[in-house]
Symmetry: C2
Subunit: 270 residues, 2 copies
């Protein structure tokens, strides 16, 4: 099986042997935003690998990707997802994303694969990032989830708001931000406090303070009870730290788990 | 008296007769960010006006302005502010801003003048804008206030986040956003709902929906009881609409009130 995580800004391919062991890995900046000819880029990236099938997850299955793979409705687990794999050319398949209906729908593409691979049967999983996902799993199925734009809000406020002028700092004010997120006034007010504390010289490191504020807001709004964290070590370390400060129990899942799920999905096609 | 509202991006001057009546108004784009030689620009803008004194409020008194006028501590009213007017040249004065101490300090420059001029003796005033101010007034003094970065967050999310790609719309989804702001999940989650509703074709006008979400969050976090609105007609109209939906009583104050306060402050110098 060739497993591919094809996201917005990056392309990651894994060549797996018959036992599911990764024997080779390739990474490039050919995310979907940089690609027009998807079959061509796939050929160029891994055309010399002969394993079959090729199973891809992530934004490659979005409207801006190779071909749109219709969202699978929650609750959904391995079975529901494997039945809806979308073949885009001979031996090449896309894993569909999930949709969670409610007053306002929520969607994911790629995270469903990571959760499947992590082997979570019950509990709450958080996949932190640009668009953090909070996912409720029951009996091996994703029953519902919600997305928080934490990473993106942090980035745009830092780069494009007035707060960006005061991001120089030394030290770490992350936990002060996490504590602040519980004060009255709400997030829109807490943002302004980054400015005033920096103006008054009362904040050692405004950037980490801002990070603590947004992650603190996310955890308080989303987290009920224990949470399993699935993501890059840099991010999960921050979430662990914030969760500990808030008395939320955490457990780390293997961030490479998605590859395992792609392998299993590939085998289900045989 | 010559009254000047000298802000970040604009300069507004009013020539007042002895009775406090506006006899001439001038406006330019010479906000403090565009100015280096403050005495020179003042001379250029209103050097032909002979009234005295010149009383200025707004960001002209900030560190980036003509000269920093130290913040006056709350509680503060006409007396406390008039005692701390800063003379920057013969007959030319700057009105100091206010600071409200707490775990995290909050500051204003310019809004104190508007509130004084509006003649509010007791109650809650909201001055909506890039950085909305919520101000508690007792016995004619500002006793405390808090700032919400509502306008700026709306602008950066619209211009610089992924939501910006889906801002085309027809109609008005503002009140749907106000209602959404009361749902569980918090602001970081509600932002993502703008994307999903637009993706699914479920939102007639994503931009006004986003506006309703942030203003709704501001009102819910800041507003307790009735509120007096002081701002431009475009903004106060939105806040009135949101407040009505949330059952919050509103009253409109005169947005030109600041000029009256500058006149009174000028007379107190005589």
């Amino acid at each position: 099986v060739i497993a591919i995580d094809w996201g917005t800004t990056s392309f990651r391919a894994y060549r797996l042997d018959a036992a599911g062991k990764i024997v080779e890995t390739r990474t490039s900046a050919n995310g979907i935003l940089a690609v027009k000819d998807f079959p061509g880029v796939l050929q160029q990236e891994v055309g010399d690998w002969k394993e079959k099938p090729v199973v891809m997850s992530g934004m490659v299955g979005s409207r801006q990707g190779w071909q749109e793979a219709a969202y699978v409705e929650c609750p959904a687990g391995f079975e529901e997802i494997s039945q809806k794999l979308l073949q885009v050319q001979s031996g090449v398949w896309i894993v569909p994303g999930l949709i969670c209906r409610g007053d306002v729908p929520d969607v994911m593409r790629g995270e469903e694969t990571q959760i499947l691979g992590a082997g979570v049967t019950d509990g709450q999983v958080c996949l932190p990032g640009t668009h953090s996902k909070w996912v409720q799993v029951k009996g091996g199925k994703v029953v519902r989830f919600s997305t928080h734009m934490t990473g993106e809000v942090f980035a745009v406020m830092k780069q494009h708001s007035i707060l960006g002028r005061m991001m120089e700092g030394r030290g770490d004010s992350f936990l002060e931000g996490v504590a602040r997120s519980g004060d009255e006034g709400g997030l829109l007010h807490h943002f302004f406090g980054v400015r005033t504390r920096a103006l008054m010289g009362e904040c050692a490191d405004p950037s980490s303070y801002l990070s603590g504020i947004v992650i603190g807001h996310e955890l308080r709004a989303a987290g009920v009870g224990a949470v399993k964290l699935l993501g890059s070590p840099e991010l999960t370390r921050l979430y662990e730290k914030a969760a500990a400060a808030l008395g939320i129990e955490t457990e780390l899942l293997d961030p490479q788990a998605g590859v395992r799920a792609l392998f299993e999905l590939g085998r289900s096609l045989a």
